[in-house]
């Protein structure tokens, strides 16, 4: 195990604005890291710091064991896809692609061949002679992407490289990127807003918020055992439903408060009675049943279908979202019963948002869930 990228206590200020707060990160060689977080949380800043484009304010940054704080970008041997593309406007697509090769003195014919290969995978072959200003948004993004992957650097840094591409192309590019990564044994850091990308491409997911790393780990670990309410809400789409709850008088059950309705769920391991908690349940873990058959009865608010799935939102406070495969036959205004898979219920401290099992079960990700909830009672 060689650490390829290592950040220790990295801070970054933009003037008074604290953009990265005490970032500690250790990435092994060959890892594909997905960096996710809400807009403005510091993902690009972190990426740019890794590339050497931003000078970090304090802390140390190592790549392949070497301190990099003052090493100029071109000596770091990383390739980056800029969120803003940063295409060379005075060069054709082909010239944009081959730029890094030409700089390195690769022969013309060879560079051209490499460009053609990359362009073929990104679907730019017919645009090689165009200038960036003559391209569509997605085409530009593909040029930015291609420019990075034409090289064989130590590390790839991708800043939302697929955001402007259509679904089919995205699926295709996803595969290509991952294949390239594996082929080169490169280390990649990949910023994305796309849940599917983060979950399916990455070996390791880092969730940031407001300049802080909230949690990192294997994708499904984050999905199954989010460290706090923020991560729970952030990972997974549609997002987890959160319901305010209190631990009952005897500490063995929680009362979920859905405005008009309440549900009482038994706890296997008792908690302090009266403690305010937040219960979280993912949409796909709620099943629609006939009214009166589930844990709750709720009136239906909006029903939206994407074709393959239907999103049903309850007209309650807070709203609950349920996903059904296929078209479903629920209409707005219906009263439906919701059956909750209590094995999938997450509990968070109402104030700190911390996951409540955390103290007990930290670190043994593979073990069975520790928070047992009895069958829902009405």
């Amino acid at each position: 195990m060689t650490l390829q990228i290592e950040l220790n206590g990295v801070n970054k200020y933009y003037g008074a604005f604290h953009a990265l707060k005490d970032i500690n990160l250790a990435i092994e060689k060959g890892t594909f890291v997905a960096l996710v977080g809400p807009s403005g949380c510091g993902k690009s800043t972190l990426l740019r710091s890794l590339a050497g484009l931003e000078k970090i304010s304090t802390g140390e940054m190592k790549i392949a064991g070497q301190l990099m704080n003052n090493v100029p970008p071109r000596k770091r041997d990383v390739a980056m896809v800029f969120q803003s593309y940063a295409l060379y406007p005075h060069m054709t697509v082909e010239e944009n692609l081959t730029y890094s090769l030409r700089i390195r003195g690769v022969k013309k014919a060879e560079a051209r061949k490499a460009a053609e290969e990359v362009a073929a995978t990104t679907g730019l072959s017919h645009l090689m002679k165009r200038y960036p200003r003559e391209l569509s948004g997605g085409q530009r993004q593909r040029v930015a992407m291609s420019r990075a992957i034409i090289r064989h650097p130590k590390a790839f840094l991708f800043d939302e490289p697929l955001s402007n591409l259509d679904a089919a192309l995205r699926v295709h590019m996803r595969k290509e990127i991952r294949a390239l990564h594996d082929r080169l044994h490169a280390t990649s850091v990949y910023v994305t807003h796309d849940q599917i990308e983060a979950m399916t491409m990455a070996d390791h997911v880092v969730v940031m918020r407001d300049g802080v790393i909230e949690q990192q780990g294997r994708p499904l670990d984050l999905y199954d055992r989010p460290a706090n309410r923020f991560v729970a809400g952030f990972i997974g789409s549609p997002a987890m439903n959160f319901i305010p709850a209190v631990v009952g008088e005897d500490g063995t059950h929680v009362l979920l408060n859905l405005g008009t309705t309440q549900a009482r769920l038994a706890l296997a391991d008792p908690l302090a009675p009266g403690r305010a908690v937040t219960a979280g349940i993912r949409p796909e873990h709620i099943r629609i049943v006939a009214a009166g058959q589930g844990a709750f009865d709720v009136p239906v608010g909006v029903v939206e279908s994407t074709g393959s799935a239907t999103y049903i939102t309850s007209a309650t406070q807070p709203e609950l979202t349920v996903v059904e495969t296929g078209r479903g036959d629920v209409r707005g205004g219906d009263i439906i019963g919701l059956s909750i898979d209590t094995m999938q219920l997450h509990l968070f401290d109402a104030e700190t948002g911390k996951r409540l099992e955390a103290e007990r079960a930290r670190g043994d990700a593979g073990a069975p869930r520790h928070l047992h909830l009895a069958q829902a009672v009405r």
């Binding site: 980056m80 060379y88 730029y99």
Partner: protein
Amino acid sequence: MKRILASVTDGKGFDIGLVLLPLAFLFIMSGLPLVYNVVMSFQEVDMFSLGSFVRPFVGFKNYVDLFSQPETRPILLNTALFVSSSIAGQFLIGFGLALFFWMNFPGASWLRGLFLVSWVMPGLVVGAIWNWILSGDFGVLNFFLRETGVIEGNIFWRSDPNYSLWAVIIANIWLGTSFNMILLSVGLSGIPKDLYEAAELDGANALQRFFTITLPMMRSTIGAIIALGLIFTLQQFDLFAGITSGGPNNSSNVTQYWAWDLSFRQYDFAKGATISVIMIVFVMLASVVYVRSTRHEVRG
């Protein structure tokens, strides 16, 4: 009517108006005088007939006369040398300075501003001062060169036919550097920073970034500066008047000074105009080059 009005506020009419108005102004104020000069070069001009167009036409006589003069060829060659060396010097030094001051360090922008000095100083003063600086006996340039051991005896910059043109070129480079520098600074400021970032990640070192990003991105600025530098250099007059007066023996004479000398010293206005037509042709060729170069500009 309404359509025209709408076109003027929103459409092509707006653009056409914006161009035609100044063009018309320029045509009246500069175009007609230009034509006047061209016409004059085909006429016999009497100093007292300056006020009218009606003068005897002599065809190409003025041209034939001019080219049969022995000094014509050396003066044209001098002009070419003067223009090309001056522009090269101004541009290179100006670019160097612009890049230097572009690196952020405290005081950079203040000091950069001071370089405008060559642009503010009156031509008369600049000519005189360079006259003294380049003077053979008491000149400061010789003094420094001697003190630093570069030369043994004095170089008579102004009076040695081998140096006289270079004397003016040196002064002219000094004069034009600030103009180049400040405008290139403006050009530099227009290049998006992320291009440099991308290039740096692509592995380009400073020199490569300069040649592959800076230069091509500044194409329109550089084109404009060189085109204008050419015109300015072709109009440089004060330095010749101040330093060498075209001498000795025409060794530092150039078309613009010569044209002036013919027109206003010897009152041979037709010949003066004839030379100016030669200059026009020269600039015309350069303009075509410039205009063509704008085709490859990058629009932001």
